[in-house]
């Protein structure tokens, strides 16, 4: 796979297939943790990290263990256990060897096991690989990294929007989550504008 194609995959994962705003993965942290910029950054950093790592782990397990043994139906079970185990492992390793990184990301790690964005990305890259045999391991990793960065972009943008909302005068029934969802809808509208931009840029 050429570099241009990989860049295309990366940009598409951030803009046109944004995991939060276009595919609705990881709405819980998106609504829950996007109130402040620093927590939004920490959470998306941790999500990106775990996304790349779990794709790195689940792709070979699926391709070299599950498929040859015709155990594809165990995908869901195996993947969620790999992700849960991996998150625990990463937490322990970071705590021991990289305390500074642990302090920045550590508190968010346990929250990620049940984040559907992580499980979603590991499954979607396999679907893409099934459609297009060229979409191999490297492309999957690039896609996972792009998905994480896309999550970060959405979180950071939305944290900015929410800070403005604090001062706004909102009708009683819309206070809290409803107005947050309506603003998410407007932010998602802006991402619709990216449709087609990646193909044009690279062709």
């Amino acid at each position: 796979m050429s570099i241009t194609q990989l860049v295309g995959i990366f940009l598409a994962a951030i803009l046109t297939e944004n995991y939060v705003l276009c595919k609705f993965f990881g709405i819980c942290p998106f609504l829950g943790v996007s109130k402040k910029l620093d927590t939004a950054l920490g959470m998306s950093g941790a999500v990106t990290f775990v996304m790349v790592l779990s794709t790195a782990a689940t792709w070979p397990v699926y391709t070299y263990i599950l498929v040859p043994n015709q155990l594809e139906y165990l995908q869901t079970l195996v993947f969620i256990l790999i992700i849960a185990g991996l998150v625990q492992l990463v937490e322990i390793i970071l705590k021991k060897y990289m305390p500074s990184l642990y302090n920045a990301l550590g508190i968010y790690l346990p929250l990620i096991t049940t984040n559907c964005a992580v499980l979603g990305v590991t499954m979607l890259v396999l679907d893409k690989g099934a459609e297009n045999p060229e979409f191999g391991y490297i492309a999957s990793l690039v896609n996972a990294f792009g998905a994480g960065i896309g999550f970060l972009v959405a979180m950071v943008m939305f944290a900015g929007v929410r800070e403005r909302l604090e001062a706004a005068d909102i009708p009683e029934s819309l206070k809290g989550l409803p107005i947050t969802l309506v603003s998410a809808s407007l932010v998602a509208c802006s991402f619709l504008g990216f449709n087609g931009i990646v193909d044009r840029l690279l062709s």
Partner: protein, 228 residues
């Protein structure tokens, strides 16, 4: 008869008073993703209900055997097994639904309604009560999905369950079946639920969020959303 009454309550509370989607705000990802049409919304609701009832009963039966420290991985394993079973059944008997739900079908595993009910309810109650709780919550989830799916399909595609609606089908408001429409309809429905809930003085419900691993970090913890 005295024993029957609480059981029925376990069943009915999930449908309106503690509706998992509109009041407890759980399972938002599938709610937004699969409600572009009524049929996929119903399919998702039924699949999640089946998983919820089975996992709730099994976890409730195993609640004394599962050690406290590894309970979350144990619950996830039980839930993942049932999701796999449901996935295989849907693949075999409703391949069209399987295509419509796509990756969101296996993602039922990480739907926080299911893990939330396992932690909040099934780990503390008997099997019958847990199964009914699961059924009630599942029906509440399905109902919310059904309403959202109907609104989005009628406005966005001009049809309902595939049946064309005159006038609307010639002038569909496409944005409603696109992602922004999902957020918007969900926000409006939640505002409506807030409005209705602020009127009647229902008893305070325990927030299912405490089961969510995101609990400490989550800003929804204030419990403002569902004013009981």
């Amino acid at each position: 008869m005295t024993e029957q009454k609480p059981l029925i309550k376990e069943f009915t509370k999930g449908i309106i008073k503690e509706n998992p989607v509109l009041c407890l705000v759980l399972g938002t990802c599938p709610t937004l993703a699969v409600t572009t049409g009524v049929s996929s919304a119903l399919g998702m609701g039924i699949a999640a209900t089946a998983v919820l009832v089975c996992s709730n009963s099994v976890i409730s039966l195993l609640r004394k055997l599962i050690p406290q420290k590894v309970r979350i991985p144990a619950y996830i394993t039980v839930i993942a097994s049932f999701v796999t079973i449901v996935q295989m059944i849907i693949k075999a008997y409703a391949p069209a639904l399987n295509d419509a739900l796509g990756v969101y079908l296996p993602l039922i595993v990480v739907n926080c309604i299911i893990l939330g009910r396992a932690e909040m309810f099934a780990s503390k109650h008997g099997a019958a009560a847990s199964a009914l709780d699961g059924l009630g919550m599942g029906i509440g989830f399905t109902a919310a999905l059904f309403i959202m799916g109907s609104i989005r399909e009628i406005l966005g595609a001009g049809s309902w369950l595939g049946l064309k609606i005159p006038f609307l089908c010639e002038n569909p408001i496409l944005i409603f079946i696109l992602p922004p429409g999902g957020f918007f309809v969900f926000g409006m429905l939640m505002a409506l639920a807030n409005k209705l809930n602020s009127k009647n003085t229902a008893a305070k419900t325990n927030t299912a969020c405490s089961a969510c691993p995101m609990n400490d970090k989550c800003s929804r913890q204030t419990g403002k959303e569902c004013r009981n």
